[in-house]
Subunit: 223 residues, 4 copies
DNA sequence: GATGAATGAGAGTTCATTCAT
DNA sequence: GATGAATGAACTCTCATTCAT
């Protein structure tokens, strides 16, 4: 029984049955998603059991199946819900003006690193990377609602500085990808491997500062 | 029942019972490890079953338990075996002389990216990231025999160019980490998310070239 | 892995979840207990398998675990159920009046011996004696609901005759214990060892008569 | 697979292969028996595993099967060995002269109770009672070499006092059985149920004294 | 004769899923 | 729509036994 087969069950997570949007129904759905998120992020897809989820969500096992076709569909809904809510919003919110480009880059890197080190996004990354081969659609979801949106935000931010003339690049998207990659050195990388690492604000700031410098060295206007 | 408790069963994978080093025994062990590697990398820790492993390895279930105390111990042995064999050797082998620093960096990046895109190391990365919280010792193993050794290799390589005066850095280790991070953009990143991506040699070379340039921009001797 | 650890799972078998007292639930529980009693008494604790029990009870293996936490807990419930139902009731019921003391003692011995020779109580004794070291709480259950209650009945019966002046003893409890011990000669003893023995009514009566005589010799009023 | 079927494998434990009495072979056999006795008495027949036994005996599993056909045969040999060695010898040894009959009876009861309370005989009793239905021949072995011999010893002892005129009975065997039954009150009975009980020498002496008195009341020459 | 690796049946237990209430 | 008991397949792991060395 391959999990790949189950993908079709949540291939189109958007067109939910519109008859289901009674308030009570949505509340239950929310309740289930919260419980399922907790369990899936703790234990992974295979490691999580529907019983645990029902218990954590405070509903019966049968109710799970009234709202989601099966475990895979519930998992898909969980990933989409998490992708929407965790990464992009945290990055998108502010505009980072009134600084030099390097200061702005450092600030942005700091914020990005901080988010990546939080338990939620960390676990989400783990489960996405781990289950991507078994749920191809899932990574797409994550990219569209999560990482991709963050990348878009950063690309726009780079475009802003290109317009201002502080940054010179023929490929702002690639520059954004490099920026994000540079943020995933040392702290994030080691945290993902569960290696001992000091994630104090000072350390975060230090790495962010180096990201800012490197970013300017690569893309800054040659003086 | 937490998998964390089982960690001690493979905490010290080095001091194997020396009485067991008969050729036949080692061959069977090798056979089991090969089967287990295939299944674990395909299905993850929880997704893999001892029956599948036994079947793939061509031995009976009981034999698995004659050679490894339990599933967790087998998993630990698999990770160590893979860590030793997959990453570091592929990077360490050659010396990259007789080129400019940037050419050398590009060549190294190309090789590193190529390795990271192969199915084996890719799956190994997935499973390490996914299971690290449940098997703390495992990530340590991976770091010591795998990623960490690669990092060491690169740090040494940087040291070589520092001596030659082509590279200037106060923190060669961090420079190496940044180099590795830059290699994990675009192709590797997207491949990890199972997004559609063109991993042709041309694409690899293109990314590697950009890594080389970025690396020189960051760490090259100011002219 | 000691069975002793599992004792807590049925340490307090009385305070069952009161939400579970639906009629259907109790019926299934009864059904399971009946099957489990049969198998445990036939095969002992270790010799019995949950599959056999499920089969005999006419339910699936999963159902067993919906009603009892594990094999040990089921075993505990079985022992309690048997202890409550088999021994004491058979002894307690009548009042044995309108006879001489010796006649009454003989009658009581006859009844007690008869019960002890029945397959059920015999097997219960076997399993209690055998598993007592592995399930300390179990013997306590057996004593409280089974043997201890029978002993109490007999002590009361002796008290009755002490009041009437036919029996003289400073320790009615010990007298009752001696009475019970005397009943476990020859027939019961040999039956427990599965030695060939004639357990006809005549033989039972003969032993019972000797118990009556011995009991009067020990405790009767000196003429 | 019923254990009853396995009985024939040790139905005739006496006619051992005479070719096997080399000293080394007997020593190994002794070694195995010692290990097996320890494990069987601790864990019961089903609860004991051949691996545990091999380990405790300090031999390999294969060696077990070189000396005994299977688990059941080994068990049979263990029971016979224990039956021969534990009970009867402890009782038979002395002659208990130069006392009154009641003193002698008390002394004998004391010795018998003491033996029954020891861990070895206690566990032997447990396993015999428990496994008798599954190994009919086993109880016979136990009776012939163990309990039966003890009973014979006591019958002889009674015969001695009958000759002296202190005891009057038409059935010395039954008198001996009653004597033994009386010894199994209170301490022994409760110990077998693993109930808390004070088995100090004082308590043993107290019960033995009451056995002596009861025995004389039942069988003593009427004055 | 002694070994211990190999076996496969079967142990206890958990699981996703169904369905009558 | 919510429930949770029932299911049976599949899980990890252990067992008595065999047999090549």
């Amino acid at each position: 029984m391959d999990r790949l087969n189950k993908n079709d069950t949540f291939a189109s997570p958007d067109n939910e049955d519109p008859a289901r949007d009674s308030a009570a129904c949505n509340a239950k759905r929310r309740q289930i998603l919260d419980g399922a998120e907790a369990i899936f992020l703790e234990s992974g897809y295979e490691g999580a059991s529907m019983s645990q989820i029902a218990c954590r969500a405070g509903v019966s096992k049968g109710t799970l199946y009234n709202h989601f076709e099966n475990k895979a569909a519930l998992f898909g809904a969980v990933i989409e819900d998490l992708s929407r809510g965790k990464l992009a919003p945290a990055i998108c919110q502010s505009h980072l003006t009134a600084m030099t480009c390097e200061e702005s880059a450092t600030k942005l890197a700091e914020r990005f690193i901080t988010v990546l080190l939080q338990p939620g996004p960390l676990r989400l990354y783990r489960i996405i990377v781990s289950e991507a081969p078994h749920f191809p659609v899932l990574a797409d979801t994550f990219w569209r609602h999560g990482f991709g949106r963050t990348l878009k935000t950063m690309t726009d931010w780079i475009g802003h500085w290109v317009e201002r003339g502080d940054i010179v690049t023929d490929d702002p998207l690639f520059a954004a990808e490099q920026f994000m990659a540079l943020c995933q050195t040392r702290l994030v990388q080691r945290k993902r491997f569960e290696l001992p690492v000091d994630c104090s604000e000072e350390q975060i700031h230090d790495v962010a500062r180096r990201v800012g410098k490197a970013f300017m060295a690569i893309n800054g206007r040659p003086s």
